[in-house]
């Protein structure tokens, strides 16, 4: 809402600078988006011409400038501006001149007395550009001219951000009322000339009293459209409106002044003598003032005559009934329309106007008649004409609820100790009726404050007008109890920290992707959460997987010169489960290039391979029970068909890891021969996490183990997992630990075989093993490997 300082002064005698007033607005909770100063706020500055420039004896950038003041008088001043030149006409402020709040005195600058100054545009308060350099005026302006006359009256335009609960502040009157309560100054309502009505108005028939609880209107006959008076034109221009003619301008003027939206119809376009306020028919067509054609439904509220509609109530008039240059008789509508009705209509048909913005927030039902009279006065003054009687359909008078409360309750909400007298003072300034005679006080707000309905609202008013700095920082209070983080939250944090310590960088991405990506990653659109009003194509769905985003991040960084990438993201993913949105915490990662560590003077770092990633997965899942990795039978389409493992938790799939399919790399623009990826869903893992509480330590061996090396030849197809299972499951009378030391195929090994070498460590908890015990165990393993896997000792 734009508020013009000079207009505000019609209603309240304030004597504050624009800066001080802006500060008051801030204290009241009205955000000031900008303050634009207009006109001249200085006195005693006249036009002079530079006739001579000498160097200052004691400075290399200051000059001694002699000016012709006109009438044969000259004046010498010190000037440091870089753009000063002989012949320029400039604004000269002499001793005694006022610039804003400062009165100019003589100044001694580096030893030379200067009895005046040549002003810059900023110094005159005309701009706030911090540009150096004096203001150079048009050379045709006569010497001695008062510079103020070139710039008009001083004024300021405030752009205020009015929150949706305070529609009453969408007018100069409203803002003045707010300031009056703060500054304890009276509000002067304009003296409105009251015309005795001559002749009948149109009759008004309101068919929906809920949507239109009050409708005031009157005719003015015999008007002659004219240009608006200067004041109205000036003020509307300042508000950013182009003045058109009085019949149009006055309605806007009154709205900005009193907050009441008005609408003027051309009487001759209204058939008959009844104004009808009704719901639209389903399918009814209506053409707006701006030419747009709407097809309406029964939720829209219409103004019209008995045949047709002439306005979309509270939103915009129709093309068929607008004021024209030659309109002779006008009908002025000053009504109150129900806020949700106007909001629905304005949103549904995407039509917004100054009028709809006021109605949908809530106008002042008590203002319709006053505004009508004010408009009448201004119309008649500009265009002549004879006003009719006023028709005011207001079947049941609106009253705000009476709020009952005690001052202690107000202080209780705020945690303050505001004195009763102060509270009484504040509430009496805001109330229509206020009674503090009993222990319980009663407060009833005037019609323009529908937002004051209970004591919490009054507490806010008390704090605003007493000052929010009255609220102290309270005493410390008891602790309310302990509860642990949701499990998913902690797991996400644990995974993220582990991944960061293993060399991965955390990424965060926008949660949207498109149908193409869904398909590329094997998801069906019908199982994904779709955004009905997506911002952009390709952002139509919530992510069921984080990998497409991470691949984009990898590609982005590759283009910026980082070839070695280890990235992860940990956040929620989305799917539809039986139609309902299901959210799961997911952790995913992508690895390509070399490991981050690359000591140039000690050779190249290893390229992470599948087994590096497997190590990462093992480390991530170390504290989880019942986790196993098995080669994927059906790897996801984006993964390498043979280098991909499923992560199982209690036999249930919790994710995959392995090499990405080369086409995935290509389609995502990644320049790498191979890359690795993983994606884990946390939901199945939550229950198997075992490190939340304390765990007992396992005893460590006290006696040294007996070590043996074991080399066996097995068929190439035999997997390590098979051999491992045999080693683990062969019953032995001693404990066994084993490590795979070597895997070899090639010379000295038959073509269909491979050689595996293990270090075996045999031990017992209570003694050092005898050689025979170790030999027996070793032989039992060799025999088991031979029987179950056809292994031969090498």
């Amino acid at each position: 809402m734009k508020i013009l300082y000079s207009w505000l002064k019609d209603f309240i005698d304030i004597d504050l600078t624009p800066e001080e007033l802006a500060q008051k607005f801030t204290e009241l909770g009205i955000e000031v988006a900008s303050v634009e100063k207009k006109g001249a706020d200085f006195e005693g500055v006249n036009v002079a011409q530079i006739i001579q420039i000498e160097n200052h004896p004691d400075s290399d950038h200051l000059h001694l400038v002699t000016l012709d003041l006109g009438g044969g008088k000259t004046q010498r001043v010190v000037c440091g501006a870089p753009n000063v030149a002989v012949g320029q006409k400039v604004p000269l402020a002499r001793v005694g001149a006022r610039l804003g709040k400062n009165v100019l005195g003589p100044a001694k600058i580096r030893g030379v007395v200067s009895e005046g100054m040549i002003c810059s545009s900023d110094e005159l308060g005309l701009t706030n550009t911090r540009a150096r350099g004096i203001l150079v005026l048009d050379e045709n302006i006569p010497l001695g001219t008062d510079v103020r006359s070139l710039y008009g009256k001083s004024d300021a335009l405030f752009d205020l951000e009015i929150t949706s609960n305070r529609p009453d502040l969408l007018s100069h009157l409203g803002v003045a009322r707010e300031l009056s309560a703060l500054l304890n100054l009276p509000v002067h309502m304009p003296q409105i000339k009251d015309f005795p009505g001559q002749g009948e108005s149109l009759r008004v028939e309101v068919r929906d009293e809920k949507a239109c609880p009050r409708y005031s209107g009157r005719l003015i006959r015999g008007v002659k459209n004219a240009e608006s008076p200067e004041l109205i034109k000036e003020r509307l221009s300042a508000m950013g409106l182009n003045p058109k003619n009085a019949l149009v301008d006055v309605t806007n003027y009154v709205m900005f002044e009193l907050g009441q939206p008005l609408h003027a119809f051309d009487r001759n376009e209204i058939d008959g003598d009844v104004i009808v306020v009704r719901r639209a028919e389903n399918g009814e067509k209506f053409t707006l003032l701006d030419g747009r054609e709407l097809t309406l439904d029964e939720n829209a509220l219409m103004i019209g005559d008995q045949q047709k509609a002439t306005a979309l109530a509270g939103v915009m008039g129709g093309q068929n009934s607008g004021i024209k240059e030659n309109t002779q008789d006008i009908f002025i509508e000053s009504a109150y329309f129900d806020a949700p009705t106007v909001n629905k209509t304005s949103k549904k048909y995407a039509v917004s106007s100054d009028s709809s913005q006021r109605f949908e927030r809530g106008a002042d039902i008590g203002m319709t008649e006053t505004a009508l009279k004010r408009a009448t006065e201004l119309f008649v003054a500009a265009c002549g004409g004879t006003p009719s009687e006023i028709r005011d359909v207001y079947p049941s008078e609106y009253v705000n609820p009476v709020v009952r409360f005690t001052p202690a309750q107000i202080n209780g909400i705020l945690g303050t100790d505001i004195a009763d007298e102060t509270l009484k003072d504040i509430f009496s300034r805001l109330a229509l009726h206020f009674d503090a005679s009993g222990a319980e006080w009663t407060f009833q707000a005037p019609s323009h404050r529908r937002d004051l309905n209970h004591r919490w609202d009054l507490a806010e008013e008390a704090a605003r007008f007493a000052g929010f700095d009255q609220i102290p920082a309270g005493d410390s209070r008891a602790f309310v109890g302990f509860s642990d983080n949701p499990k998913g939250v902690d797991l996400l944090e644990i995974f993220s920290n582990k991944l960061a310590s293993l060399g991965f960088f955390e990424c965060k991405n926008i949660d949207f992707l498109g149908e193409k990506e869904l398909a590329a990653f094997g998801f069906e659109p019908k199982n994904a959460v779709k955004i009905k009003n997506a911002m952009a194509k390709g952002w139509d769905y919530l992510r069921p997987t984080l990998l497409p985003s991470l691949l984009k991040n990898a590609e982005f960084n590759q283009r910026r010169g980082s070839a070695d990438l280890a990235l992860f993201e940990a956040t929620r993913t989305f799917a539809l489960a039986k139609g309902f949105p299901a959210e799961t915490y997911t952790v995913s990662g992508v690895l390509c290039g070399r490991l981050t560590g690359r000591p140039f003077f000690q050779g190249q770092a290893d390229k992470p391979d599948f087994f590096f990633l497997k190590g990462v997965m093992q480390e991530l899942l170390k504290d989880f029970d019942a986790v196993s990795f098995v080669p994927s039978q059906n790897a996801p389409v984006y993964m390498h068909p043979k280098i991909c493992m499923d992560v199982l938790v209690n036999g249930k799939k919790a994710g995959v890891f392995g090499a990405l399919h080369p086409l995935t790399l290509k389609n995502n623009g990644l320049k790498a021969e191979d890359a690795l990826a993983f994606e884990l869903s946390l939901k199945p893992l939550e229950k198997s996490f075992n490190a939340q509480l304390f765990r007992p330590a396992k005893a460590v061996a006290q006696f040294p183990p007996s070590l043996r090396d074991l080399s066996v030849l097995v068929n190439k197809q035999t997997s390590y997992a098979d051999i491992k299972a045999i080693l683990e499951n062969t019953p032995l009378s001693v404990a066994l630990r084993f490590d795979l030391m070597d895997l070899y195929e090639g010379e000295h090994v038959p073509a269909d075989k491979k050689s595996l070498t293990f270090t075996l460590a045999f031990s017992a908890p209570d003694r050092t093993l005898k050689d025979k015990e170790t030999d027996d165990a070793f032989n039992a393993l060799v025999q088991a490997l031979h029987e179950k896997a056809g292994a031969e000792l090498r």
């Binding site: 704090a463 642990d484 960088f505 965060k508």
Partner: protein, 348 residues
């Protein structure tokens, strides 16, 4: 040899070898001295041969004196050997020429995202202030995101939040939550006071992506409901929160504002941490920086959640994570957080 002569000879050997050992210059000279004093033909060995000629009484004096001298010389020789060996080792070490200014071996160490770092800092402080972590869905029904929070249908306050609508099989109209405040309605519906929770997480607004707007961003919500909770409690806790976040000297101020789910509502500013309140570019010359929105929980919100506003009262606040991170990490484009450029990620 008399006992007196024996004792004199001992003193002579002690004096002579103590001097020589202490001035020995290298390990070889120490070994020579060891042989000269204690070797088979050494001075002390030779002297001790005289012991056998002494009477039993004399032996009781001369024997321990001779052995003590032997032990003392041995000890002095060992110490000298150790000292010279250490000196020689140090000389060897001092000949090492390694350029320690070469770059460090880059370990494969990753980083958390700056927004995670900022959020962690915030949740850590709130957790110390007794707030426990609560969560809510990101795909939310309109009832929990709006209606229960006193943001009625057909009200401009609801229009102001550019909402994404989700297409699901739910009979309810689903949106991507526009704020973390849905956790308020979710939590209060299920729990009775006292309640003291924080709810960090992502929120969504159908807003253009530019330097200061992102359709996805992060908030952190705080909610405290108990008997007699007031604006003063809010001020105390937010003051502690901001001190934890920005330093002990941080000052806050309340400014009146409007949010549908709080009454009274306050915008909270902190005194500019960059200029100390004098006014600078970051605080746009005002000396204060807007940090978060807050207020006393609106009685309608409590009622909607089944909590009696005549018995209980509460406060709530909500703060943007990006806003804080941008300011404190000197990032002036919100898109930076979602580009994931390693050169940025590597800094936090």
């Amino acid at each position: 040899m008399t006992l007196q002569e024996f004792q004199n000879a001992c003193s002579e050997i002690e004096r002579e070898y103590t001097d020589k050992i202490s001035s020995a210059a290298d390990l070889a000279s120490v070994e020579e001295l060891r042989v000269a004093a204690l070797g088979r033909k050494g001075a002390l060995t030779e002297l001790l041969k005289n012991l056998k000629d002494f009477s039993i009484e004399e032996k009781k004096t001369a024997g321990p004196a001779g052995n003590a001298l032997k032990a003392a010389l041995n000890d002095a020789l060992d110490k000298k050997t150790a000292a010279l060996a250490a000196r020689e080792m140090n000389e060897t070490l001092n000949r090492v020429e390694l350029d320690l200014t070469l770059p460090a071996r880059p370990l494969a160490a990753g980083r958390r995202h700056p927004l995670s770092v900022a959020q962690k800092r915030m949740t850590d402080i709130l957790s110390k202030l007794g707030f426990t972590w609560a969560e809510g869905p990101w795909v939310e029904d309109e009832k929990h995101n709006f209606d229960m929070l006193n943001i009625p249908k057909h009200h401009p306050a609801r229009d102001a939040q550019d909402t994404f609508f989700a297409q699901t099989g739910s009979p309810l109209s689903m949106v991507l939550r526009t704020h973390t405040s849905n956790v308020q309605s979710r939590f209060m519906e299920k729990h009775k006071p006292p309640i003291r929770i924080m709810a960090p997480g992502r929120v969504f607004r159908n807003d253009s992506l530019d330097a200061t707007h992102s359709p996805v961003f992060h908030q952190i919500e705080g909610l405290y409901v108990d008997k007699n909770v007031s604006m003063a409690d809010l001020k105390r806790d937010l003051s502690a929160f901001m001190k934890g976040l920005l330093g002990d000297k941080t000052e806050i101020r309340f400014r009146p504002s409007f949010f549908p789910f709080t009454e009274p509502s306050a915008e909270v500013d902190v005194k500019c941490v960059f200029c100390g309140g004098k006014g600078c570019n970051i605080c746009k010359g005002t000396g204060w920086i807007e940090m978060l929105g807050s207020g006393v929980v609106h009685p309608n919100v409590l009622k909607n959640c089944g909590i009696d506003p005549e018995v209980y009262s509460g406060y709530a606040f909500g703060m943007g994570v990006e806003r804080l991170a941008m300011m404190m990490m000197n990032i002036n484009d919100i898109r930076t957080f979602y580009e994931n450029d390693l050169r940025i990620l590597n800094q936090f």
